[in-house]
Symmetry: C2
């Protein structure tokens, strides 16, 4: 059992890809479009639950975590958010847009040395998305987008726990390369809808919308009241 | 993959059974005996790690936890203890005595509605014990031992989250009966060494020691220095 199969009225739409692949921008644009189409839509991000945040923070800081514990803490965090936020909204008939989903965990945990089947089984309480957009970009493009801002990379974000390099930037490069390999492996297994993240942003968005309307009948998700543009881009519910 | 199979020098010995089955007394006696046999032995209890204790407490208090989240929090707690305490001791060649092990989680989580296979896979990072003693007592005997002390049963301890009864004592009775059914189911599947928890304590202990020496050559676990009784039961390392 890799995914939960309960029937729900809503639809789950996920984006996956490397940091710097452009997925977050594109999902924000998709959300805006769906709102203007008067659809019931909500957005959710990876790793935003409060319940175990303190435990994760504390463990990360003390660098005490093994790959298994690290994986389980994130799974707990996700499960809490999934069951108290995502599932109720899906049951209530919403289009739920997720910036990163279980595939992010599959990739990160596998790179850290967890057994792939174990991780997939761990997350099997969650539904498979109705569409998973995978933003494919060459590694160097994604790295350039992130590293050009000269960011202060965090310990785990840079994959420093993997002892790949003592230099955080170099560690991040190697780590992202390993994540990319995991995504490539997943791409076929899970039937991702591949978006070329090097293409023009408007082309990416057009492709996302086409794939969405192809698979989901939006008329089932429209509010009875309509969002109407009024004057200078203001919108009101009618 | 239900259990991890890495080779280690140490041995893992677990006790399982209902609250009130007498297992904790018997494992304490076994530990004392092994110490007097000059063996390298340590004791570990279920649910004693600090890492996610605050999360568990907070979640329990707010009664926010679904069965999946509840299960994952306990698995995280156990994984932390397992990888930072149990495994290093097993690698270092200790006899590790565990008061409750993954079977406790299998039973509790199944009763709360988690899929049995999912829970077993969740804990598959852990080793199967070299011996698991299962303390079998009639439900009423175990209940009488616990309830005669007129305890203040805690919310989850009494299984109140399962809505079995509004009365904590009655809820506890039903809950323990359900746990017992899970243990009975596990008994054969995992080849427990069954101890009759209604028998005389000295007979139980004798049976445990016989099963232990039958399966484990204690000479591999003896310290080079000996613990010697001196005077009024004092012991010193020589």
């Amino acid at each position: 059992m890799v995914f939960q199969k309960d029937q729900v009225r809503g639809k789950l739409i996920a984006v996956e890809g490397l940091d710097g692949s452009g997925k977050s921008t594109q999902i924000a644009l998709l959300k805006r479009w769906l709102e203007l189409e008067s659809c019931k839509v909500v957005f959710t991000e990876w790793n935003s639950s409060d319940l175990v945040k303190s435990a994760t923070r504390r463990g990360k800081k003390q660098r005490l975590l093994t790959p298994t514990t690290f994986s389980l803490i994130h799974a707990t965090d996700f499960a809490d958010r999934y069951e108290r936020q995502i599932m109720p909204l899906l049951r209530a008939g919403y289009l739920v847009l997720a910036d990163r989903y279980v595939y992010t965990a599959y990739a990160r945990d596998a790179v850290r040395g967890c057994d792939r089947e174990w991780v997939q089984s761990l997350y099997s309480f969650a539904r498979q998305p109705d569409i998973t957009y995978y933003f494919e970009v060459p590694l160097q493009v994604a790295l350039d987008r992130i590293l050009s801002g000269r960011p202060q990379l965090k310990f785990h974000e840079a994959g420093m726990d993997l002892d790949l390099s003592e230099d955080p930037t170099e560690s991040f490069r190697i780590f992202q390369g390993m994540i990319l390999e995991e995504y490539e492996r997943q791409k076929k297994q899970f039937g991702f809808c591949v978006i070329d993240g090097s293409d023009l942003p408007e082309n990416q968005q057009a492709r996302m919308r086409a794939a969405l309307t192809d698979r989901i009948d939006l008329s089932h998700y429209r509010r009875k009241t309509k969002v109407i543009r009024e004057g200078y881009g203001k919108e009101v519910l009618r």
